[in-house]
């Protein structure tokens, strides 16, 4: 058990390192000198030179990378050029907002999508299956940001049931938070339910074709017993992996939903910082989100044996 965990952790290290190199190189490709960007146009050449020295920009690139990565590992992501704030606390602050929305949405979508997908697979090629698969394909063809705008138009502006923009955290006021978060979460739930339903259906169908299902039926087990004990249980494992991927992927594209509903999340921070050319923040966000994605996949992998009895660790 411990061995597997350590091995899996060791495998994540080169990935993390290359992700860090990629982010570092990307930010170095940005036209312009970071020091003069930080000081603005009015700084003298001497000031820029002094800051370059202080930031280590006069060192060779590999040394610069090592210094930067060392800082990152010790939790120092640098400071925002525009506000002077430390980047990491800023990221954590915004991340809690995005994580709340994404976790809620994927959790609800999984609770709806997995059973529906399995039912579709059980009734494969029947009317119910065709209805479900058509609905799921329709849902996943709608861009989340447009669906969000349509919900906003209908429930927010036409009916006036829900607040249109903004965010209240659950810590501040639970019921208000629920109202504010309802539409962004519902939007993501609708889109991701389509994805999860199709995935759950496909993996259940795959399992149902295997010989041991035929065998279970042949030995006279009742249909519910075959489905519950043999088919659904084994079909959930691949779906579980997809749910993990969706979780991470949503963090990478949450900016669009945060833009629709004007929510101060991590995605919005990243996009705003790109506009403002606030590169330490951009760099921090890229690294943080990619890091979270790697960690989420790590956790998903480690929990995998819970769902797939064939895999033991």
């Amino acid at each position: 058990m411990l061995r597997f965990v350590l091995q899996r952790l060791a495998m994540a290290i080169p990935t993390l390192l290359i992700v860090a190199v990629t982010v570092f190189v990307l930010m170095r490709l940005v036209p312009g000198d970071p020091a003069s960007l930080m000081l603005g146009d009015l700084a003298s050449a001497g000031q820029v030179e002094a800051l370059r020295k202080q930031m280590g920009l006069d060192q060779p690139i590999p040394v610069q990378f090592a210094m930067w990565f060392g800082n990152v590992l010790s939790g120092d992501f640098g400071r925002s050029i525009n506000t002077g704030q430390d980047v990491l606390p800023l990221i954590f602050d915004r991340f809690s907002v995005s994580a709340t929305i994404v976790l809620l949405a994927v959790g609800i979508a999984a609770l709806i999508g997995v059973p529906i997908g399995m039912i579709a697979a059980w009734r494969q090629k029947g009317a119910l299956d065709l209805g479900i698969i058509t609905g799921a394909t329709l849902l996943l063809s709608i861009p989340s940001f447009w669906l969000g705008l349509m919900l906003l138009l209908f429930f927010g502006l036409q009916l006036g049931w829900l607040p249109v923009v903004g965010y209240v955290s659950f810590g501040q006021d639970f019921w208000a938070a629920l109202l504010y978060i309802a539409m962004p979460v519902a939007t993501l739930v609708l889109v991701e339910t389509g994805v999860i339903t199709r995935m759950a259906r496909a993996s259940t169908i795959e399992v149902m074709q295997l010989e041991y299902i035929t065998h279970a039926r042949a030995k006279g087990l009742s249909e519910p017993a075959v489905l519950w004990r043999h088919a659904f249980k084994n079909a959930f494992a691949p779906t579980w992996t997809i749910i993990g991927l969706i979780l991470g992927n949503l963090l990478g594209s949450i900016a669009v939903i945060e833009t629709v509903f004007t929510i101060p999340g991590l995605g919005r921070l990243l996009v705003d910082s790109i506009y403002a050319r606030d590169y330490p923040v951009v760099q921090g966000c890229l690294l943080f989100i990619a890091g979270i994605y790697i960690v989420v996949n790590l956790i998903v992998d480690m929990l995998y044996p819970l769902f797939d009895p064939r895999v033991t660790i």
């Binding site: 990307l26 394909t137 861009p143 705008l149 949503l250 990478g252 669009v256 996009v271 890229l286 990619a290």
Partner: protein
């Protein structure tokens, strides 16, 4: 008629519907290249924010530009960008994937570690990072999305190459004295075409969605040029007074994506024997 037979015709019907939708979109884009009801960039402040009417079928925007004309021009821009990106990602990814799968050994392992690390950037993130460097522009998007999706192609192609490189007919080609290059070009690459076609179809959908999302965030094709994504972005502040500005561009994206998804499912059923059931 048995349920199975209905299912079969249902799958085919879906493929046909998908195909028809794509033909309509491509036709609209092609017509948009030569003719639109109005000049998509012409301002007419007197006619701003008008609802759908006989003169402007889908209404006008905040500058009085004709929405239908802009949608047609956007169809051209969006499909052109998606097509270029898919070609870029597919050709680059196939080349790298074939080479990696064929070389094996440490070179392959090194390429795969780098590839997997690039795959560790979720969703739009890598594209957002690259856009931060290149700035919002048409070519910037093609490069950003192309690089962001290339690792996926590499992965798929390498998998296919690995699965066929040890097959007997490939061995036979070597025994016959063909060079590695000829073997690769004649016997391995053609066998990658079916899975690549399936992948490229899905890729087209992902890229179209990603391009709309980037444009919606203001990091895509800059105005005044129209794309469906930036029309949504510029229409958003007027959602209360002129809902048609956000309804129609999104509808275009959704219908096109639906077409691609249906077509993609049908292609996968036909071309990918592992998925056939």
């Amino acid at each position: 008629m048995s349920a199975r037979a209905i299912g079969f015709s249902f799958a085919q019907a879906n493929g046909i519907i998908g195909g028809v939708i794509m033909v309509v979109v491509v036709a609209a884009a092609l017509i948009g290249m030569m003719w639109t009801p109005y000049d998509p960039l012409r301002l007419d402040i007197m006619a701003r924010l008008q609802g759908p009417s006989a003169a402007h079928w889908l209404g006008t925007d905040e500058f009085g530009r004709d929405v239908l004309s802009r949608l047609m021009s956007g169809a051209r821009t969006s499909s052109w960008i998606s097509l270029s990106t898919v070609l870029f990602a597919t050709i680059g990814g196939t080349a790298i994937g074939v080479i990696a799968g064929f070389l094996r050994g440490w070179a392959d392992r090194l390429m795969m570690v780098a590839n997997d690390a690039l795959l560790a950037f979720p969703g739009l993130l890598l594209a957002l990072g690259i856009m931060a460097v290149f700035g919002a522009s048409r070519n910037g998007i093609i490069i950003a999305l192309g690089l962001a999706y290339m690792p996926t192609v590499v992965r798929v192609v390498r998998g296919v190459v690995l699965s066929i490189r040890e097959l007997e007919y490939v061995e036979a080609s070597r025994v016959m004295g063909n060079s590695e290059f000829v073997t690769m070009a004649r016997h391995i690459v053609p066998n990658c075409i079916a899975p690549i076609t399936v992948l490229a179809t899905s890729l087209f959908g992902w890229v179209l969605l990603a391009e709309s999302a980037l444009s919606f965030l203001g990091l895509g094709v800059p105005p005044p040029a129209a794309t469906w994504g930036n029309m949504l972005a510029t229409g958003r502040p007027y959602i209360g007074q002129a809902p048609w500005l956000v309804i129609f561009p999104g509808l275009c994206i959704s219908v096109t994506l639906l077409g691609i998804n249906l077509l993609g499912d049908a292609l996968r059923d036909r071309l990918d024997p592992r998925m056939r059931r």
